[in-house]
C-alpha cells in the first residue's frame, strides 16, 4: 500500500491545491511500480495551512505554475523513494519513453515495461534481455497503434554513472543490434540505478515510469505477510 502526506505552510486555495495535487500525482505516484498490484488503501493527501504571511496562491496567481512544478518535482522524489524500497529490490530503474505520438501512449508503454515480471527478473539477473522489453511494448494496452511503428523503434540501456559510452543501443530502428557489447551491458546492468530508453520515433511526447527489479527476496517477504 502507498500512503503519503505532503504538508506546507504556503497558503493555497483549496481548488488550486486540488489541481496541483492531481497534476503532481499523475507525474509521480501514478508513475511507479514495484509489483503491479494496486492496494485498496492507496492515498496521498496534502494540507496547506497558510502559516507564512504571503498572498494565497490561486489558479490564476502568477506563482501557480511554479508552485505546481515544485510540488510535482517534490512528489517525484518521494515516489522514487518508494520504488527504491521495493520489497527485496536491488535496482532502481527509470523507464523513459520518448517521441511518442501521445503522452497517454508513452505512459501506457512505460507502465507496461515497468510491470513486466520478466523484464524485472532480467534486470535482477543483469541480463540485457531487450526481447522482453519489446514484448512488453507490443502488448501494452494502447487504444490504437498510431504511436507504434516497428521500423522506427529504438531501445537502449543508459548508464547513470559517468562511465562512457552512456548509451548502449539494443534495438536500432526496429532492428536488433547483433553486435551488442555484452561486457558493457554487464557493466551498466551491474549499476544500482539504470535507465531503459525507448524512442518510438512517432511524435514528440515523453513519459517516465520508475520501477525496480524483482528478486527472490520479494517472494520471501510476501509469502507469509498475514502471519
Amino acid at each position: 500500500t502507498l500512503l503519503g502526506f505532503i504538508v506546507t505552510d504556503l497558503p493555497i486555495a483549496s481548488t488550486a491545491l486540488n489541481k496541483m495535487l492531481h497534476h503532481a500525482t499523475n507525474r509521480s505516484f501514478n508513475c511507479i511500480s514495484v509489483d503491479g498490484d494496486m492496494s485498496t488503501n492507496d492515498t496521498i493527501c496534502m494540507i496547506a495551512n497558510g502559516a507564512i504571511e504571503t498572498q494565497e496562491v490561486k489558479e490564476d496567481s502568477e506563482a501557480f505554475e511554479q508552485v505546481q512544478e515544485q510540488i510535482t518535482q517534490f512528489a517525484q522524489r518521494l515516489a522514487q523513494l518508494v520504488v527504491r524500497d521495493g520489497e527485496g529490490s536491488t535496482k532502481f530503474v527509470t523507464v523513459n519513453v520518448q517521441n511518442s505520438l501521445t503522452f497517454d501512449d508513452a505512459k501506457i508503454i512505460a507502465e507496461s515495461i515497468s510491470n513486466s515480471m520478466l523484464v524485472k527478473t532480467a534486470l535482477y539477473g543483469q541480463d540485457a534481455n531487450w526481447g522482453r522489453i519489446l514484448c512488453a511494448i507490443g502488448y501494452a494496452k494502447l487504444d490504437n497503434l498510431k504511436s507504434l511503428d516497428e521500423s522506427k523503434i529504438n531501445v537502449s540501456f543508459i548508464a547513470t554513472d559517468d562511465s562512457e559510452p552512456r548509451e548502449l543501443k539494443l534495438v536500432v530502428n526496429g532492428v536488433p543490434n547483433l553486435n551488442v557489447d555484452e561486457e558493457r551491458a554487464s557493466q551498466i546492468l551491474a549499476l544500482n540505478d539504470l535507465e531503459i530508453k525507448v524512442d518510438l520515433g512517432t511524435g514528440s511526447e515523453t513519459a517516465q515510469f520508475w520501477t525496480c527489479d524483482l528478486t527472490r527476496e520479494y517472494v520471501t517477504i510476501n509469502g507469509d505477510y498475514r502471519s
Binding site: D9, L21, M38, T43
Partner: protein, 207 residues
C-alpha cells in the same frame, strides 16, 4: 549469482535533519496493533489559526476501497477541502474489506481526533495500512489517540517527523521523509515536507 548484493537503504535514503513547515506538530505512539511493539499510530496536527487550511487528496481507484479511504473522501467532500486540521494514520491493520463495522471504526478514529482537537466536525482525515480483512483493534487505537493528546506527545523537531514517518511503515526497510524550502516569485520562502510508506503492493493509480 550475478544479481547485485543488497545495499543499506536506511543509511542511503533516510535524512539526518530536515526543514519543516510552520504551524504543524506531529506525534507517534506504539498502540500495540503491531505485534512487535513498534510505532504504529501517528497524528499530524495543524496548529496555525491565522487562516483556514486547505486540503486535497487522491485515492485508490481499486473497486474495493478500504473504510478509511471512504471516510476521508466523505470528510473532504463535506468541507470542500477547507478546514482539515489533522490526519490520523495507523499501520499494522488496513481496515479494508471490513464492511459496516470497519466503516464505523474509521469514523470513530476521525471522531476521536476531532474531539481532542476541540470538537469541530469534519476536520480530520484517516488512513490505515497493513493486513487486509481484519478489524481494527479499536481499544488499542482509542487508547493510543487519547494518550497522544492527553500526554501531549507532539513535537515539531526532526525526531518527531521521523517517528511519525516510521509509524506508518509496514514492510518498509526505511522511512521515507523529505523536506525542502522553495522560493516564490516574490522572494517569500515556503516549506514542503513529505512522508510516504510503501514497499510492496505498489502500482497506484489514484484519482
Amino acid at each position: 549469482q550475478r544479481a547485485a548484493k543488497s545495499i543499506d537503504k536506511y543509511a542511503l535514503y533516510v535524512p539526518q535533519s530536515g526543514v519543516f513547515p510552520k504551524g504543524f506538530k506531529v506525534g507517534a505512539i506504539a498502540s500495540g496493533v503491531k505485534k512487535n511493539g513498534a510505532l504504529d499510530l501517528g497524528v499530524i496536527v495543524n496548529t496555525n489559526k491565522s487562516r483556514l487550511s486547505s486540503a486535497a487528496a487522491v485515492f485508490t481507484t481499486n473497486k474495493f476501497k478500504a473504510a478509511p479511504v471512504l471516510a476521508s473522501k466523505q470528510v473532504l467532500e463535506a468541507v470542500r477541502g477547507k478546514g482539515i486540521n489533522a490526519i490520523v494514520v495507523n499501520s499494522g491493520c488496513a481496515n479494508s474489506v471490513t464492511g459496516e463495522l470497519g466503516m464505523a471504526d474509521a469514523n470513530e478514529m476521525v471522531s476521536l481526533v476531532n474531539t481532542q482537537m476541540g470538537g469541530t466536525p469534519n476536520a480530520t482525515l484517516v488512513m490505515s495500512t497493513g493486513v487486509i480483512g481484519q478489524r481494527l483493534q479499536m481499544d488499542k487505537i482509542t487508547n493510543g489517540i487519547n494518550k497522544l493528546f492527553n500526554e501531549n506527545r507532539f513535537g515539531a523537531h526532526f525526531e518527531d517527523w521521523l517517528n511519525i514517518t516510521k509509524s506508518i511503515c509496514t514492510t518498509d526497510t526505511f522511512p521515507k521523509l523529505i523536506s525542502s524550502k522553495f522560493k516564490l516569485p516574490n522572494g517569500q520562502e515556503y516549506t514542503l515536507t513529505g512522508m510516504a510508506k510503501g514497499a510492496g503492493m505498489i502500482c497506484p493509480n489514484m484519482a
